[in-house]
Symmetry: C2
Subunit: 201 residues, 2 copies
């Protein structure tokens, strides 16, 4: 796996990246609770203690993987935003779609970053992408805040709805490769949400 030339030493941090790659792959193959330093090492073709050098403990590796997760999460939302119509309602639909793209495309990673397990919040990369993901939501909501309403109220409303939908879909029965069998499409929920916002504004 990741078979680079013989086994030269890297001063460029490429093993660090390879280990995160291995971790992401491991999550996908074995599930969100089966991460293991030693198996990441094996997958990357290095000795069992090599990860300990780059991430001093398993929390460090988990944090790096979560950072990768949040980065992909942001990417998914931005991708949908990039091809969205410019009006506020469409942009809101777009980030929600991106949200669900990420959840269905990387269910393991999605559950992992929202597992409630503690990461190293002081990690720069992690903090960057985690806060950026919320910033995207916030900016998109900004245009839809009814006069005289606390913006956070709407942000949390939207976020709760899409997050709850995605998270329930991922945790309920594993026989849903996409979203739950027979579940209403998110667009119908989005319709109700818009009605609520119109009624408020």
């Amino acid at each position: 796996m990741t078979a680079s030339p013989p086994s030269r030493r890297k001063r460029d941090g490429s093993l660090r990246i390879a280990l995160v790659d291995a971790g992401v792959a491991l999550l996908r193959e074995r599930g969100p609770d089966k991460l293991s330093l030693r198996e990441c090492a094996a997958k990357a073709g290095v000795s069992h203690a090599a990860p300990g050098y780059h991430f001093k403990n398993i929390t460090g590796l988990s944090t790096a993987i979560a950072a990768r997760g949040f980065s992909l999460f942001c990417q998914a939302m931005e991708q949908r935003l990039a091809t969205s119509a410019p009006d506020a309602a469409e942009r809101l639909s777009a980030i929600c779609q991106g949200y669900l793209d990420f959840a269905t495309g990387h269910p393991d990673l999605f559950l992992f970053i929202f597992s409630g397990q503690k990461f190293r919040e002081d990690d720069e990369e992690f903090a960057h992408y985690a806060s950026r993901s919320y910033a995207i939501l916030r900016e998109t909501c900004a245009l839809l805040i009814p006069e005289g309403t606390d913006p956070e109220e709407i942000e949390i409303l939207v976020w709760s709805l899409v997050h709850g939908y995605a998270h329930l879909a991922m945790t309920r029965k594993k026989e849903n490769p996409g979203l739950g069998r027979g579940w209403p499409d998110f667009s119908t929920l989005m319709g109700h949400l818009h009605k609520a916002l119109q009624a408020s504004g």
Copy 2:
């Protein structure tokens, strides 16, 4: 811990219960990802392999703990329902309050049962309480379904909103003993939800 008379053998399944108690306590003390068969055994005062007899593997113990979790979950909702005004909107508010009572009262257990880890779905107790918790939601929503709307659409709408709110509150930063600092109260979200339902009905 749970110091019963000397160390007599029990034919009544009381060790099984003691082990689940120990597991629940362990989750609270050490976090949702730190469950251990051996430590549950120690906490219950039995040998390291005793849990293996009652739950054949750690998935078995996890399932029993999750069953306990869902049972408390149902209990929290029913308790709020019992003292609620009889009209549909109030009953809906009541189960949402119960939902949040459970999440804030047992954050570890809440994250555990919704961690996405797989349980033994064929376990009778687990299946009972898990499906019952959804049934409570369903029954409460039933009175609020607008004419000509798929009931599941409203159920998922409500469930997503309250679940997303609770789950985000639990996973975002651990310095929130209750719900996030400065977060809008759920009742405001509930207000928007009602507006949406009125606009639909």
